[in-house]
């Protein structure tokens, strides 16, 4: 509806200026709960950074601290060059934290107009933001009559009204139907193009995989991994099933190096080689009289990586 089906965004360099930077950010609650624990996070200009973690991992608390809604127990944070929650920072940040919250007795248009007044931005931005999320036809209807998807889109429009340098989106597809999720995902992909930085939290791996250039995985308040999706997955391997196994093993060891060949219990060989060598290896095996019944690239899914890092299947 909004844009063509999403494709994975290529990883970009991480050498840009830090838009979000936290050092030892920690939040303890009085009941002994450590929501965020010594978090060091760097999000650079132009990235679509996925903040990934199971439910209750500390994603929302972190985002609230970046917006100045929650005061950290210790540690520091800088958001677009300012202290979280300061006018200098907030004027450059658009955000949705959990479900978008608006005044039910006002129309979508009036809700955005209100935010434009608060932020001191020209009222023309209201129509532009409504157009951007394709909500103009329902803009004059009361917010209380909106569907979940429309509320979410109004939330994104509200986040865009300041033409922010940084967008912070907390679970932006929560509660949406598949079409709504695809729409919002496409919208975020579009918003993340160019210089704008997007920090998006999610527990939906497919979504993060399609949208984000770099991800950080948080578990029990700690950042347990960070990098591009390819970094986290590790290199793809080549999986080969061939007979006779002994001949195949000696040939593959000679070609790829013994350390890079693993024989699995089911009889297949796993090779850490460049995938472009697949055809060459297949030809050599066949020329050596080995019958190759299966040959394919094998790649760890992000789900496998995530479960390995967080030790959980919940929240997926």
């Amino acid at each position: 509806m909004i844009a063509p089906a999403p494709t994975r965004v290529p990883a970009t360099t991480s050498a840009g200026e830090a838009v979000v930077e936290t050092r030892g950010l920690t939040k303890h609650y009085g009941n002994g709960i450590i929501a965020v624990d010594d978090l060091d996070l760097v999000v650079r200009r132009g990235e679509v950074y996925g903040f990934l973690g199971p439910n209750g991992a500390g994603k929302t608390t972190t985002l609230r601290m970046l917006l100045g809604l929650i005061r950290p127990t210790s540690g520091t944070a800088s958001v677009v060059g300012g202290e979280p929650g300061s006018p200098a920072s907030l004027s450059k940040v658009g955000a949705i934290v959990e479900a978008p919250a608006f005044y039910p007795y006002l129309s979508g248009y009036d809700n955005l107009r209100l935010l434009a007044i608060y932020c001191g931005v020209p009222l023309e931005r209201v129509n532009a933001a409504l157009d951007q999320v394709e909500l103009t036809p329902r803009a004059r209807h009361k917010f209380s009559t909106y569907s979940m998807g429309m509320k979410q889109r109004l939330g994104i429009a509200a986040a865009l009204i300041k033409e922010p340098h940084l967008l912070i989106l907390d679970e932006p597809t929560n509660g949406l139907d598949p079409q709504g999720m695809a729409d919002v995902r496409n919208l975020i992909l579009g918003l993340g193009k160019g210089d704008r930085t997007v920090l998006v939290s999610s527990h939906l791996l497919g979504e993060v995989e399609q949208m984000c250039t770099r991800i950080g995985v948080i578990q029990k308040g700690k950042l347990v991994a960070e990098g591009t999706i390819d970094d986290l997955r590790g290199a793809a391997t080549l999986s080969i099933r061939a007979e006779p196994a002994e001949t195949a093993m000696s040939l593959l060891a000679a070609e790829a190096g013994a350390d890079h060949v693993t024989r699995l219990p089911d009889g297949t060989f796993n090779l850490k080689v460049e995938l472009k060598r697949s055809a060459e290896l297949n030809r050599k095996l066949v020329q050596a009289g080995v019958e190759v019944s299966e040959l394919h690239a094998s790649e760890r899914s992000l789900e496998e990586v995530f479960m390995e890092l967080t030790g959980t299947e919940s929240g997926l």
Partner: protein
């Protein structure tokens, strides 16, 4: 200024605010003028029993005429109308928690104290509309009563009217900020309205009433520092309408004391709200 403009924008468009304002104005005309005028004009049989000799209910009509509309408004609606101001204060702040819009509010541009100042500014405007509206409808109603009864239409002097408006503004300001502070502390509307009413009825109404009857002067001395008692002192300072030869009572405390105490509470509620909002995490 942006915060104030924004708060005014959304407050002016909120139906609940106007329902609250119009309800008080309608009640003021109905209960304050229409029903008393009916009763005084057409007293039920035996209604004059218990009144001093030679006095009839019709003599009380003088309280409904324009000359007395300032003191009538203050004495009738200082406390009862204050409940409407309390509800307005609660609505403006408590709903932000109910709708979770507090997080939207605090992630725009200005800091929390600036947003608070904007909201208090909007509340001040709404309370002003309530007070001016109340005096206006009472002035019109009293004029109507005088015209119907064929009496002269003369109003209190301008100074009395301005002082009356100021006194009521302070009284309703206290009530509105009381509601605002309760909504801030409890992060909701229902509890704030409930506790506000419970305070007015139970603490200052029943407890002081009962203890005062038993305890004597020291209870009065304590009560002098409580806000609702001071709204009474302030409204009483405008005196009573003269009804034939009936004796009038002197005000218990002077207006200066009442104004000072009410100002103290107004400032205290602003400070409590500001400190709470500044320090508290927004988690909803």
């Amino acid at each position: 200024m942006n915060a104030f403009s924004g708060e005014l924008f959304k407050t002016a468009r909120r139906p609940a605010v106007w329902v609250c304002v119009i309800a008080l104005l309608a009640v003021a005309v109905t209960i304050g003028y229409f029903i008393p005028w009916l009763v005084y004009s057409h007293p039920p049989p035996g209604a004059s029993q218990g009144l001093p000799k030679g006095t009839t209910l019709a003599d009380f009509k003088v309280t409904l005429y324009p000359l007395n509309f300032v003191r009538q408004t203050l004495q009738q609606w200082g406390v009862l109308g204050g409940v409407f101001a309390l509800i307005l204060g609660v609505l403006l702040q408590g709903s932000e928690y109910g709708w979770a819009t507090i997080k939207t509010l605090y992630t725009q541009r200005d800091g929390r104290l600036v947003m608070l100042a904007g909201k208090l500014g909007a509340l001040a405007v709404v309370v002003l509309v309530l007070v001016v509206g109340l005096f206006a409808v009472d002035a019109v109603a009293s004029t109507g009563v005088a015209l119907i009864d064929g009496k002269s239409v003369s109003y209190p002097d301008a100074q009395t009217i301005v002082q009356g408006l100021g006194a009521m503004y302070l009284i309703y300001g206290f009530w509105a900020l009381f509601g605002f502070a309760l909504a801030t502390l409890f992060k909701q509307s229902a509890m704030a309205i409930g506790l506000g009413l419970a305070y007015a009825l139970v603490i200052e109404g029943i407890i002081f009433g009962v203890i005062g009857a038993l305890g004597g002067d020291w209870v009065k001395k304590v009560q002098e520092w409580f806000p609702i008692a001071n709204t009474g002192y302030l409204t009483n300072s405008f005196g009573q309408a003269r009804i034939r030869d009936l004796p009038t009572t002197q005000p218990y405390a002077d207006a200066t004391h009442a104004v000072a105490v009410l100002f103290f509470y107004v400032i205290a509620f602003v400070v409590v709200s500001a400190v709470t909002l500044k320090r508290r995490d927004v988690t909803n």
